[in-house]
Subunit: 213 residues, 2 copies
Amino acid sequence: MPFAAQPALHPRKTPIQARSTVTVDAILEATIQVLLTLGKERLTTTAVAHRAGVSVGTLYQYFPNKRALLQACLKRHMNEIGESVLRACEQHRNASLFDMADSLIYAYLAAKMRDVKTSAALYAVASDIEGHAIAQTTSSRSLHVIASLFATARERLTKDPELIASVVVSTLNGISRRILESKSPERTIGPLREELLVLVHAYLQTCIAGVNA
Amino acid sequence: MPFAAQPALHPRKTPIQARSTVTVDAILEATIQVLLTLGKERLTTTAVAHRAGVSVGTLYQYFPNKRALLQACLKRHMNEIGESVLRACEQHRNASLFDMADSLIYAYLAAKMRDVKTSAALYAVASDIEGHAIAQTTSSRSLHVIASLFATARERLTKDPELIASVVVSTLNGISRRILESKSPERTIGPLREELLVLVHAYLQTCIAGVNA
DNA sequence: TCTTTGGATGAAGGAATCTTCAGTTTCGGA
DNA sequence: TCCGAAACTGAAGATTCCTTCATCCAAAGA
């Protein structure tokens, strides 16, 4: 199986000249491409370097090992999604809880679906590179942002915002995973997103004070 | 990374004498143990054989390759959970939708939590052995069972039972995944299970005809 | 007891990659 | 124009494991 547990280092060298920045980007992009075309089993550092139009040596100049390379890709991808969610959140401070949830759901799904293949491929390697740890770092930050957003909602909440956020996000993950893993995500996303909205709304309703007639 | 995509065969030889059945079981058990103690990176066929108290050759007599070995473990595990859910379902035919959901949730979580470590470890290898395909086979059957169960509920449904089941199960997956991945599943499960019940109940309420006052 | 077939053994072959590093090329400032 | 630093190169070393197979052991029937 994959690599041994290693210190998982950071970029070995920091790009200084402009060309090297380009190179690093190219390598990262190439990694995704190789992942998509050859699959993770046949993703070799040589193949990545080749696709990026550089030599293996260059690759190893910026990434201490294959693991770090993949981790960098995953981080990048998760940050993109995180950013996107964060932006959505900021626009709904002090709004209604339901509006918050809706935009959150839309933003998250849109970000994931932007390119389904990549998301799925990265999901697959995640377990080989402690993706779990990376995901937690990224997503725990998101979770706090969402929780504090919920705390600003017009409605008065009867539960800990962190708990609510946690439930909503987990649900979102569960459903989006099903969408990603379905045969035709493009067809599945519509109906399931609808249900997701209904589901989350119904749940949030139970978190609001004084509505239970 | 792991193995190349292979035909992924089935047991190479079918146990005939009693002792060989014992051996196969031992190998399967050993695989889980090695997975837990060494991790998937260091799970080698030799290590498994050693732990099972047999030689590598014996292992290869029953499993054509490492991949098949892991797949067998995963299948076994998923079937156990599937069985458990199935049993829970059968006891609630014609009951209330909410009772069904509750027992489903309890059964599923109980099965997963029985030994958290194993579940988590198998999750991790899943992506190396087309676990996705295996999961779909097992869980699509479960999904149908659940859907047809929902169809027998006392309440009249306003949506396709398959859709409802799909949403419920995805949600269940999402939440249980969070539980599994949390630092201390034992402590997390209580509160999250509560929320899960609330969440699913609230959702099911929207699937019932004639209740919206 | 003898024979046949199932079951077990484990050293060694072989295939695949990751990573290194000595050496070359390119860039940018003096 | 010239030079030191930054980038880049890619063949070869080193490791790691999977898998095979020739051979031996054990059980059950004659």
